[in-house]
Amino acid sequence: MQFHERNTGEQIMNVKVRFFARFRELLGTELIVEVAERMTLPDLIKQITQKNIEGHQAIFDEHGHFREYVIVMRNARRVDLADAEKNIVADGDDIAVFPPVAGG
């Protein structure tokens, strides 16, 4: 694990976030995001989508919760959306966010 130090002494971590399908079109394929300590997984995704209204609305509902069909994986493990807030991101995390595609 590699931590960087800001002048404030706050630990900075790097997290990889990958989007798929429609989310990828709106938000990009893969981002390496620098995050502050103790950031929750939903807050991380909100930080990424804050300047992209369409991307934000695709992933979050009007209450700021993950839309119920969104799939979030953290280090290849499914994140239970009901408990998403309990996920504090860690340095080196690999987060994947995607919608099910429906066509046939």
Binding site: R24, T29, Y69, P99, P100, V101, A102, G103
Partner: protein, 248 residues
């Protein structure tokens, strides 16, 4: 046993899996839900591979706007029932197999009867409510579900072995909203081929099935990856199933 014509037709693939493998395909019955974007390539390739019986179900008629991807149907088929068009093409491409083409809507009340004694279900639908229904039927009958779905240049596929691997409801507990999806024909072509390959592997009992893995294809990046999945112990569809031996 095989006729001379069948031996000649399947010669190159019998180099791969022999008389025994070809016999397995010939004895098999696969249910294909949909004769559209995914159902077209899946049914064509399963037909030429020599799957003994194919049931194809669809409720629609061929529309001009289908023809960029639904390669079972030709321009002259516009206005015809998709099942009628599908049956004609599949019989023409392989007269040595049985085709059951059924023009109906797959619903709760008829789904089990439609699937009958099929050895597996190919999900070539365009909506999640019917997919969940097919998932339930697969679980009830303890037969595999070969899932595929597409949107634009993106596609996904997975194989469900009920009671043993993550089912569709484990992977996608909630359906996305219904929408008119953009699509270019190459995407269902690719995903349909993944599904058809899975069917063959399952019937031949060889290779590693796409179980507990969601295959994700991004045509624009020419990049495929897979995401590991697992059974959800609280799954509304399959959690009551304990480990069972494979059906085939």
């Amino acid at each position: 046993m095989f006729s001379e014509r069948e031996r000649e037709r399947y010669k190159r693939q019998m180099m791969l899996f022999g008389d025994e493998g070809q016999e397995r395909l010939k004895k098999a019955h696969i249910f294909i839900a949909g004769a559209g974007g995914l159902g077209s390539p899946v049914s064509l390739y399963l037909a030429v591979a020599g799957i003994g019986t194919l049931t194809v179900v669809d409720r629609d008629v061929v529309d001009q706007s289908n023809l960029n991807r639904q390669i079972l149907h030709n321009d002259c088929d516009i206005g015809r029932k998709k099942t009628e068009s599908a049956e004609e093409k599949l019989r023409a491409i392989n007269p040595d197999i049985k085709i059951r083409a059924i023009d109906t809507t797959i619903e709760e009340k008829n789904a089990s009867g439609l699937v009958g004694k099929a050895d597996g279900i190919v999900d070539a639908m365009d909506n999640y409510p019917t997919r969940y229904l097919l998932n339930d039927i697969a679980i009830r009958k303890k037969i595999p579900l070969f899932h595929g779905a597409i949107c634009g240049f993106y596609g996904q596929a997975t194989t469900v072995i009920p009671g043993k691997t993550a089912c569709l409801a484990c992977i996608f507990p909630k359906a996305p909203p219904k929408e008119v999806f953009p699509v270019v024909g190459v995407t269902p072509g690719i995903i349909g081929m993944v599904q058809a390959t899975e069917v063959l592997k399952y019937l031949l009992k060889s290779g590693e099935l796409l179980t507990n893995r969601l295959f994700i294809w991004d045509g624009m990046q020419a990049h495929a990856e897979e995401i590991c999945m697992e059974r959800n112990p609280c799954c509304t569809a399959c959690s009551s199933m304990s480990e069972i031996p494979e059906n085939k």
